[in-house]
């Protein structure tokens, strides 16, 4: 009798819970549809190319890591080189952009550094946010060729930094504007120089906003394609997105290996996002959302 009641309780649907089940059902179905291409790619990266061609949608019957081994060891692919190129460009551009834009955002955001024309200068820099890249793409190509910077990773770093200026400064500035004046005054009374005030006091406080900009820059730089395809011609200097494009065209690269290459390329972003998603969203609330 008692078990009967329990079973009944289990199956009798409380209307409030029913709604919740329906919502969860829809959300999970939606997640399934939306993430299908992603998980399909992951699943195929563990299968051999000929199995995939026979049945593209089967699950891996036995997991093989052969694809991953292949892309890292096959000397004709030089995948590790591309990975290293992307790492150099992304890390370099993130660091440089961080130093430049945090200093600028600080000077734009605090009353202490007010000077005539400052808001105009800020508006000019912010406007570049809506520039179509083509307005600088070709002339920059021409200038880079002229000054021998074409086909170098450092030119790519500088171009990425320039492309990140408006968004970074915008997010960081709105954060610096919210820091109480007392803190600045206290530090200045203690005899802090402006440089120390920024690096020792303000920069550490801005950590949430900084993490947000770093994450945004990481995603954008790691996956950047247009500038890379225009300014890099040397196969040894390809970044990952460029390499991916050439992999797609390669006849000898099978589907399983391509899937493995795509998964490995996305891995750093996924790992970092999984760790800092909480911070990322918090920084967005502080900066981008309120604007």
């Amino acid at each position: 009798m008692r078990t009967m009641q329990q079973t009944q309780a289990l199956f009798s649907v409380n209307p409030r819970h029913a709604g919740r089940y329906i919502v969860t059902f829809f959300l999970l179905s939606y997640s399934g549809v939306v993430s299908f291409p992603f998980f399909w790619m992951v699943s195929n990266s563990f299968r051999m190319g000929r199995d995939i061609l026979l049945d593209p949608y089967a699950l891996p019957r036995r997991l093989t890591l052969q694809n991953y081994v292949n892309i890292f060891t096959n000397p004709t692919l030089s995948f590790p080189v591309f990975f290293k190129n992307s790492a150099i460009v992304t890390a370099g551009a993130i660091l440089l952009a961080l130093v430049l834009t945090s200093m600028a955002a600080y000077a734009f955001g605090r009353r202490r550094y007010q000077f005539p024309g400052r808001e105009t200068l800020y508006a000019l820099i912010f406007l570049s946010f809506m520039f179509p890249p083509q307005i600088t793409l070709l002339s920059l190509f021409q200038l880079l060729v002229k000054y021998g910077l074409y086909n170098t990773l450092s030119s790519l770093i500088l171009v990425y930094v320039a492309s990140a200026l408006p968004m970074n400064i915008y997010i960081l500035r709105s954060f610096f504007m919210q820091i109480p004046q007392d803190l600045e005054d206290a530090a200045l009374i203690d005899g802090c120089s402006d440089r120390m005030l920024f690096w020792k006091v303000m920069f550490p406080i801005a950590r949430p906003a900084i993490l947000t900009t770093v994450m945004l820059n990481f995603v954008n730089f790691w996956n950047e394609f247009l500038y890379a395809v225009t300014y890099i011609n040397d196969p040894k200097l390809r970044t990952l997105p460029l390499a991916q494009m050439f992999f797609i065209g390669e006849a000898y690269l099978d589907v399983g290996m391509l899937a493995a290459a795509l998964v490995i390329s996305a891995m750093p972003l996924i790992i970092v996002y999984a760790f800092i998603s909480e911070w990322f969203i918090r920084g967005m609330t502080a900066g981008a959302v309120k604007m």
Binding site: L27, V34, F36, A107, S139, Q142, L158, D182, L262
Partner: protein
């Protein structure tokens, strides 16, 4: 509180006799140190190239023997662009469709999702990561994946639709190609808009929602009269961000269709790239003229849109 602190502060400054130095003297050294590098990069990588592009658009610019040879041609490129370039018209049309339609797809879907997730549902964190995943893939990877997903023979979309008799060559038909690509960009960006809208919903003070609940408003009224007005600025910003982003679509088209079929997925960005590096004209002047026209279009429409959205703020809600 703030008054007393302000009073203290001036007292302290007065006692130390530093008031003038701190308040009045402008720290020019620090200003130059903080702003200098950014301004340098801005001028070198945005302003100088910008004006160079304007200059180039009135010239023919060819590479010969490692040197650029320029020849002044006046308005020739602009006249050609507006009178006989059919690909350019098609590219403009596609880019504008993309930029106008996308905000109305991405943001409503993202809002519905954010609103549902903002209620107390289980697995919140799981959704937040899963839906953001497409944002983390490169456009090249996305292009490769969706070339398979939309494949006419064995793509998963057609596998599902074939029993219903709705299968179609999505990327090969001039009527559906651009819409297929628009759904791919929507797929990629819904997660981003969702995360921001979720953050915005989280920033609405709880007592405001409680007050509305006490007044007995239903869900619909709550959204219309409380929530939407509160996060309006976020909506506007996301709209503008989406619009500007779609005006520059390049990667996806470059990887998936290269403008095929017959230019019906060509965007301005891909057309500039083709004219600069793939046509046998090898002239940077003509694509520069395209870039200038496009710059003016984007800039003007962005200004109008900002004005319009700010004005509506006063009227609506």
């Amino acid at each position: 509180m703030s008054v007393s602190i302000a009073g203290n502060r001036s007292g302290v400054f007065g006692r130390r006799g530093q008031s003038n130095r701190l308040v009045q003297k402008r720290p020019w050294g620090a200003i130059v140190e903080f702003l200098g590098p950014t301004v340098l990069v801005y001028v070198a990588f945005l302003i100088i190239p910008l004006f160079t592009t304007f200059y180039n658009s009135f010239h023919t610019l060819k590479m010969s023997g490692g040197e650029w040879s320029t020849e002044f041609v006046g308005l020739k490129h602009y006249i050609a662009l507006f009178t006989k370039d059919l690909f350019f018209k098609l590219a403009i049309r596609n880019s504008i469709i993309w930029a106008v339609v996308s905000p109305f797809l991405e943001i409503p879907i993202a809002f519905v999702l954010a609103y549902v997730i903002h209620q107390k549902v289980p697995l919140k964190r799981f959704y937040r990561v899963i839906w953001f995943l497409p944002m983390l893939l490169s456009w090249v990877a996305v292009g490769a994946l969706f070339r398979w997903v939309l494949n006419a023979d064995w793509g998963v979309v057609n596998l599902v639709l074939r029993p219903l008799g709705l299968d179609h060559n999505w990327l090969g038909d001039i009527k559906t190609a651009i819409w297929s690509l628009i759904s791919v960009t929507t797929w990629k960006y819904v997660g981003f808009n969702f995360v921001i809208l979720l953050a915005a919903l989280g920033s609405i003070p709880q007592d405001m929602l409680d007050a509305a609940a006490v007044d007995g408003t239903n869900q619909f009224q709550l959204i219309k009269h409380v929530i939407l007005p509160m996060i309006r600025q976020t909506f506007v910003n996301l709209m503008l961000l989406c619009y500007v982003g779609k005006m520059r679509v390049f990667d996806l088209v470059w990887v998936m269709t290269r403008g095929a079929p017959m230019g019906y997925t060509e965007t301005v960005a891909t057309y500039v790239q083709k004219r600069a590096f793939e046509w046998n004209t090898f002239d940077l002047g003509y694509p520069s003229a395209i870039a200038v026209v496009w710059f003016v279009v984007v800039f003007a429409s962005w200004l109008l849109l900002t004005r319009w959205l700010q004005r509506r703020e006063a009227l609506e809600f």
